[in-house]
Amino acid sequence: MNAIDPRIHQVLDGELAPGALSTELRRSVERLVTAVALLAAPLPLPSLEPRVMALIRRPVPSRARRLLRWLATPRSVTFRVRPVWSLAFAAVVAMLTLVPIGHEGPDIGEHEGIAQFVGRFPGAQSVHVVGSFNDWRPGSIALEDVDQDGLWRATVVLPTGAYEYMFVVDGERWVPDHLAERLVSDEFGRENSIVIVRPARR
């Protein structure tokens, strides 16, 4: 912006007579005076009186009512965020959602698979699974009834292969799993269930 001759300001501020200016400076003053005259022309707008008077004739709502109306009126909330922060936020969200943090499940080797044991034992205090995979040792693999609905579950990683197993309910009652893929009779005349563990990785 170029500074203009200070005498132009003096004339416009009424501190100097226009006649004291050169022709060129007088033209500058005239340009500004013409611009002001254009801006000062009245605008063809309808009178505000009816609108204003109607508004002030309306009874003023109580403070409580105004507060209630304010609370109940939907409002738009605008956040002004620099794009760089938006991108950073999107990157963090993507990392959190797409990249697994930690290990939610057990490590599974190439020759291992997941076996799920599920049995319905309403009222039981404890349920364990025993089988050829843990040398039929009671107490080593416990099932859980998380929902307290009588349905007991356990998920374990085992080497791939076929295993015989049974459930031990309340530490003393040995029960076969009738939902197993197969059942076989053992040398003691009991029925054992068979689970076939397949490799988890393909």
Binding site: L12, D13, L32, T34, L45, V52
Partner: protein
């Protein structure tokens, strides 16, 4: 009721504060033209100006008792409207404001002089909205609304040297646009 009539601003204010609500209509009629023009030039939109001035009048009516100097009612009203315009501009940056609320339309009945005048007005308006709101406000109050620097100080809350500097800068910017256009 006569707009420019015998009742002074102080008398009208006293009537309104005394319970004569309808007397406020005189205040509206007396000052709406100047306030609307000022707001329209500040905001670049006639609709926004009408809203701002109407809201300002209602606000003035509700707080009329706080007008400590009723003889300076005009200055007080300009202060309310100026603040309302600045709040509006703070919510809507100048780039979003509609600058050409009514571009000149060629009409066979328009004379060449009228068209030239409309073109000049459009140029001046565009130059005006390029100014910062503070400089625009100072220029309009000084030259278009004809306020003294003392009155401008009462309207804006700024010191007189600051206002003089803003008016000078506004003149320089406007003159540059006008001369570049020639």
């Amino acid at each position: 009721m006569d707009v420019t009539g015998a009742s002074s601003d102080a008398e009208v204010v006293a009537r309104v504060l005394g319970g004569d609500r309808e007397a406020f209509g005189l205040v509206v009629r007396r000052y709406e033209a100047g306030l609307l023009r000022f707001a329209a030039r500040m905001l670049g939109s006639r609709d926004a100006a009408a809203d701002a001035v109407a809201e300002s009048f209602v606000r003035a009516y509700r707080h009329l008792a706080s007008c400590r100097e009723p003889t300076r009612l005009r200055t007080w009203l300009y202060r309310i409207v100026a603040n309302r315009c600045k709040s509006h501009l703070a919510r809507r940056p100048i780039a979003d404001v509609s600058l050409d609320e009514a571009p000149p339309v060629a009409d066979p009945s328009d004379t060449e002089v009228a068209l030239e005048r409309a073109e000049q007005l459009a140029l001046v308006r565009r130059a005006l909205v390029r100014l910062s709101p503070e400089k625009r406000e100072a220029f309009l109050l000084k030259h278009v609304e004809g306020l003294s620097y003392e009155e401008m100080a009462a309207v804006t809350g700024e010191r007189i040297p600051t206002l003089k500097m803003r008016v000078h800068r506004a003149r320089e910017a406007l003159l540059q646009v006008l001369e570049d256009h020639e």
